[in-house]
């Protein structure tokens, strides 16, 4: 059954788009965008892992105790991971802005002074 793994592959494709941007682009902000996209993809992968056919959201409702629910653990992990992603993004943006102030450009090939 193709449906049993196609969503995973699409998600990995998204991850690769992000990594490609990080590796290939010159612009600092675009590199950061690549990291953000890759981060989304990893979060999505965790949530894909926890989906159960016909499952409900893992929140108990009064009266309906016996329900099929999706796996709650990856959801908890993703919550953590989203915040970590935001923290990393903000920090990278701060450094990029400072670099822009020092060099007057976001072009990484014109910033490269460290070598050897």
């Amino acid at each position: 059954m193709i449906h049993s793994w196609l969503p995973y592959v699409l998600c990995i494709l998204l991850f690769c788009v992000g990594v490609y941007a990080v590796l290939s682009k010159k612009n600092l902000i675009r590199i950061i965008l690549g990291i953000v996209i890759a981060d989304y993809a990893v979060n999505l992968f965790l949530i894909l892992l926890c989906w159960k056919k016909g499952g409900e959201a893992p929140i108990l409702q009064p009266g309906a105790m016996e329900q099929v629910m999706v796996d709650p653990l990856p959801q908890a992990l993703v919550l953590t991971s989203i915040v970590i992603g935001l923290a990393t993004t903000a920090f990278l943006v701060a450094i990029a802005m400072r670099l822009h102030e020092r060099y007057g450009t976001y072009d990484i090939t014109r910033i490269r002074e460290l070598r050897g």
Partner: protein, 151 residues
């Protein structure tokens, strides 16, 4: 940016709409936090929403007006306070077995006061996250940059 010509902020329309909605956003954030153990939401989402209400205020009215409501050092101090509170809740668990033990009675399922220490943790996280995100926003957005040290 509009901010650069004094502390005017944005146009009148934006200001009026912001004046009407910012309180609602703030209250919604608090609602999300307090119901975190019953419905989707919780300290993180609520904290970010509360931070967004302040960000909204800042963008519409400018820095001066915002700092009349909350001082700049108060933001970063609040963040540390939130962190200390959360760590304190974790350490209080030692009175009931160990690190992070849920030391409060569970209460009745589905009522607002339930889940032991979970609502308290939510509040601590909300303070921490809200102040943290707003502080980060201030540091980044209010950053003017000193004159470039060109070479």
């Amino acid at each position: 940016m509009a901010r650069n010509d004094g502390e005017a902020g944005m146009t009148l329309v934006v200001k009026t709409v912001t004046r009407l909605t910012v309180g609602l956003i703030f209250l919604y954030g608090i609602y999300i936090v307090l119901n975190g153990h019953l419905s989707p939401g919780g300290g993180f989402a609520g904290g970010v929403i509360i931070a967004l209400s302040f960000i909204n205020l800042f963008l519409a009215f400018g820095a001066k007006k915002t700092f009349e409501i909350i001082r700049k050092d108060a933001v970063t101090a609040l963040e540390s306070v939130g962190a200390v509170l959360f760590l304190g809740i974790a350490l209080l668990g030692f009175i009931d077995g160990g690190f992070f033990s849920n030391f409060l009675p569970q209460g009745e399922l589905f009522s607002l006061v339930s889940g032991g220490a979970i609502p308290l943790s939510n509040i601590a996280i909300c303070i921490k996250v809200g102040a943290g995100i707003f502080g980060m926003f201030l540091a980044l957005v209010a950053f003017r940059g000193s004159e470039r040290e060109g070479k």
